[in-house]
């Protein structure tokens, strides 16, 4: 007998703000006209979607942000600290806490510390969360590049759906670190014009960002409007460790399998939140997958992309973007794909160019694609 899995609490800290109200206000106020001045202002110091307002020390900042996200999510779910002890912990990240090791290593080389590193265990963030919420359960940390936190979400949801666990907290975290920034730069994947334009013919690359988010999942809903996990799929595209097969076939396979697993039709999905990194390869492969999907099922679903608001937050993008879209839906709109004007060659769909008013009950598909050929899609909805 299968159960249900509901999102009963959520929180997000990103470059748009540290509260739901501030984040929604920023998104609502943005449109195609004020987008470029907004970016110009944001990227005065460096071309990166940075979180403001925390300690300057990488280590302090890391744990301040993580703790606030957890506290806010627990509060949103109305869970007491005692109830939090029953939460299973699933965490997704690409760079884990490399920024903390970077800081310590720098001090070591400047003779300010005797330690070259701080943490050498890959799962130390999981243990920190276990101890912080006093969870009775051992954490599980997933590293699948940009699909890390969406895979963590799927794993937790499936375990609740199949009655293996009752409640879980899913965390995505990705904070600025020089190694990742320089690594993406070494692949020449970063935008040179400093304007994020996924799916647009002028798109010239990725702009990285940082963010941390947490989702509380439960077999029981708290509110009537709580979103329910419907289905997911994860497949491997063996084409290359850094790029997707350009035809988009593996992405299409992942999308179709998810829709099939959810036992719904494409026309019952109100919005597809694309991965949309803005890289040349992703623009082509994901567009091809979506074009084929829409042709095959003779239905064009609305599409949007959220990286123009948050930057590409890599392993945390799964839960970060899920929460951002849920915030927008709670406020009655689907956010536009900022920076989009003209389709890339061969694409015959257009993402939303302006915010679109929506009913409060919808089904949405979240698509993610990662280094290492890791493709993941999830469908959530709150229609009865």
């Amino acid at each position: 007998m299968k159960s249900n899995c509901y999102i009963i609490g959520k929180s997000l800290i990103c470059s748009l703000g540290t509260t739901k109200e501030a984040i929604v206000k920023s998104v609502k106020n943005l449109d195609q006209n004020n987008y470029e001045p907004f970016l110009e202002d944001k990227f005065k110091e460096k071309c990166f979607y940075e979180i403001d307002g925390f300690s300057s020390s990488s280590s302090n900042r890391f744990f301040e942000i993580l703790k606030k996200v957890i506290d806010d999510a627990l509060k949103d779910a109305s869970l007491s600290s005692k109830e939090a002890e029953d939460l299973h912990i699933f965490l997704g990240s690409t760079s884990m806490g490399i920024s903390i090791n970077e800081e310590e290593n720098k001090k070591f080389h400047n003779n300010e510390s005797k330690d070259e590193l701080v943490h050498i265990r890959y799962g130390f963030i999981g243990t920190f969360v276990e101890e912080y919420i006093k969870s009775k359960h051992k954490s599980l940390v997933l590293a699948t590049a940009c699909t890390s936190s969406i895979n963590a979400f799927s794993s937790a949801s499936q375990q609740i759906k199949h009655n293996k666990i009752k409640k879980a907290i899913v965390i995505g975290i990705e904070l600025f670190n020089q190694s990742t920034y320089d690594g993406f730069s070494s692949f020449m994947l970063l935008s040179q014009e400093n304007i994020y334009r996924p799916f647009d013919s002028r798109s010239d690359g990725i702009i990285l960002g940082e963010g941390c988010s947490a989702v509380i999942l439960s077999a029981d809903k708290n509110k009537d409007a709580d979103f329910k996990y419907l289905a997911s799929s994860n497949i491997c595209d063996n084409y290359s460790e850094t790029t997707s097969e350009p035809t988009g076939k593996p992405i299409l396979q992942c999308l179709e399998t998810t829709i099939e697993n959810a036992n719904i039709q494409l026309n019952e999905i109100d919005l597809i939140k694309a991965h949309a990194t803005g890289s040349e390869n992703n623009n082509t492969s994901e567009s091809n997958a979506l074009n084929t999907l829409f042709k095959k099922y003779n239905h064009k679903t609305k599409v949007t992309a959220l990286k123009p608001y948050l930057g590409h937050t890599l392993g945390a993008s799964g839960t970060n973007e899920m929460i951002l879209i849920l915030y927008c839906i709670e406020n009655g709109f689907f956010p536009a794909c900022l920076g989009y004007k003209n389709a890339i060659e061969g694409s015959d769909f257009s993402p939303l160019i302006e915010h679109k008013n929506v009913a409060s009950k919808v089904n949405i598909l979240l698509n993610h694609v990662a280094f290492g050929g890791n493709n993941s899609s999830v469908i959530i909805g709150n229609k009865s």
Binding site: T94, K138, L140, A143, Q178, S179, F187, E241, T242
Partner: protein, 253 residues
């Protein structure tokens, strides 16, 4: 859930060239710039699978306590010399690429992931993998614990809470599991989790077993090797962390 194959590399720290030479004999993968962590993992996984025909929906789970920390340290030290990070170094610190390389080598399109959980990475990974096979998200499983020697990190034990353990060795231990009973080495009957010594004692009292192994002495795969070679029919394996949280596996043959 049946264990069909096992393979273990548990060497003193060995030069990557030796592992690459061994890998060349069984795979055409180009891993010229790849880290020892990646090479160890692929070598272990391919040797474990050997000639076994996979389902086409095989879940590949790479578990690790330290993942690419040796490569991370190299990149951090290079940064201090103001050297630009090179693309292959960046790929090496993206630990999750390890499961992609295995997937590519095995021509598998099923899910693959890198998992970790302090002191219990393999145990938690196996718990997830078995659940995913139970719900048919994957048809069969290749799962391994991989960690290259930490001997390149000066005085590494200062960063660890359980300093009794020695992480000087290169380790790559693998299992192949499926739901097929025929020709299995042994069967994982069930898994129970606990969050205190008291709960662990209660679980153990309920199980009728001949022999037990603990992660403070043996890894899961070493325990399976010992069990298969011995006369005992029922074993339990206890994986426990510094906070007395862990998992008990009951295994029979």
């Amino acid at each position: 859930m049946y264990i069909h194959k096992k393979y273990l590399i548990n060497n003193k720290s060995t030069d990557i060239k030796e592992y690459k030479t061994l890998l060349k004999k069984i795979s055409g993968l180009n891993l010229r710039r790849s880290s020892k962590f990646n090479v160890l993992a692929i070598l272990g996984a391919l040797n474990c699978v050997d000639k076994k025909e996979l389902s086409g929906n095989t879940g590949i789970y790479v578990c690790s306590e330290f993942a690419s920390i040796v490569s991370v340290k190299k990149v951090l030290d290079d940064n201090e010399k103001n050297s630009m990070i090179m693309p292959f170094d960046f790929l090496n610190i993206n630990s999750n690429n390890v499961s992609f390389y295995i997937s590519q080598a095995l021509e598998s399109n099923g899910k693959n992931m890198l998992l970790t959980s302090d002191e219990l990475s393999f145990e938690k990974g196996l718990e997830l993998a078995l659940f995913e096979m139970e719900i048919n998200a994957v048809t069969d499983i290749i799962i391994g614990l991989v960690d290259e020697s930490l001997s390149n990190i000066n005085n590494y034990s200062r960063y660890l809470s359980n300093e009794n353990k020695n992480y000087d060795k290169d380790y790559s231990g693998w299992l192949y599991l499926s739901q097929e009973k025929i020709d299995a080495l042994c069967k994982i009957e069930f898994i129970k989790s606990f969050d205190s010594q008291k709960k662990l004692d209660e679980i153990i009292k309920m199980i009728d077993y001949d022999v037990f192994y603990e992660n403070c002495e043996f890894s899961f795969i070493e325990s399976i090797e010992n069990f298969i070679l011995g006369e005992n029919k029922k074993m339990i394996y206890i994986g426990v962390d510094k906070n007395d949280k862990g998992l008990v596996f009951f295994i029979s043959k």
